[in-house]
Symmetry: C2
Subunit: 209 residues, 2 copies
């Protein structure tokens, strides 16, 4: 528990800007989740380690989970923009691959910070669930972007879901095998998906169930 | 709140078997979540409506969310078996399509019960997150099944993720458009995925990022 200290005198290093407070809260949360586990950590403890008060925590994040998903709104906006702004005339999977390659550059640059975060998320069901929900939300943005390009509604949904699945497969492989770039793994995943679909016969020729 | 009634005398219709208690708890939970919302419903209230006590609820389900995901372990086992037991010599996507078609028959038969459940899950973030976690767990089972058939580790993961994504796309389309069978939507999704991959050029020929 956080000790009761009466009126708190912040150290001089207390963050003034919102962005700096968010960064410190993210870092403090990640450290505490790794040291004690997510369930054993309170928002007050995260705030204390970050040198802010609990109200500041809740001004920036609605709950203990969201603190590890900061920046998702910007990521969503960037993905959507990359899909919408891709050159005209590209096929849906070409558009998605371009957008994912651009997004992947951010992941590659952030790997040193992201690596401990992945470990915590993978080990904590409550965080893993939140992550999957965020991915569904990002997938919806990608589908919306394709629709804004004039792609048929159903095709956009199918392309977004399956393309996203291939992207996430690439990320998982790259987490385990960083000897090759995420970009290389991503190209492999899209080529692998092409190989999988072309190896199977068209469904209507398959045996009726 | 549940009224305090001292020693409870159950009506004669009180369920004797575990399976019947589970069925009644599922039904009661679904009704209450629709009437009041998930957040406003307690396990005790679900138990009361089902004619059992709260301890019985927690003997069957660890929390308020799991009560809407009963039968997932059986579904996982059935999917895994369908993948492992598919005839030798089939390509990974042929194996998956067979397994998903079989699984889809269960969904089609259960639509009258499932439809109100989908509405509640879609409208409740906590349930939607749990559902996505279950899907990730089912996807892992499918990948394991492919590996047991001798499919390369990476290919198995990619096929399971992208095939599952196509399956879930089909389910979503079918929920909105039940005028065609889920089976027809599922075949469309696999054919649509083939069309998407073959329309885009191989990635290595694409522009470098």
């Amino acid at each position: 528990m956080t000790p009761v200290t009466g009126v708190i005198r912040y150290p001089r290093s207390v963050p003034r800007s919102g962005a700096e407070a968010r960064r410190r809260l993210r870092q403090a949360a990640l450290e505490l989740y790794r040291e004690r586990g997510f369930d054993q950590t309170t928002a007050a403890e995260i705030a204390a380690r970050a040198g802010v008060n609990e109200r500041t925590f809740f001004r920036h994040f609605p709950d203990k989970r969201e603190v590890l998903f900061d920046g998702e709104a910007e990521l969503r906006a960037a993905l959507l923009r990359a899909v919408v702004d891709a050159p005209a005339g590209l096929e849906p999977f070409e558009v998605l691959l371009r957008a994912f390659r651009e997004s992947a550059r951010g992941l590659e640059a952030n790997r040193p910070f992201s690596e401990p975060r992945w470990e915590v998320v993978a080990a904590t069901p409550a965080l893993r669930e939140r992550e999957l929900a965020k991915h569904a939300w990002l997938t919806d943005a990608v589908a919306d972007g394709l629709r804004q390009r004039g792609v048929d509604d159903g095709v956009a949904g199918l392309a977004a879901r399956t393309g996203w699945a291939a992207y996430q497969h690439a990320v998982q492989v790259w987490i385990v095998d960083p000897s090759r770039s995420l970009d290389a793994h991503l190209l492999d995943a899209f080529d692998g998906l092409r190989a999988l679909t072309s190896a199977a016969p068209p469904t209507r020729a398959g045996p009726a169930s």
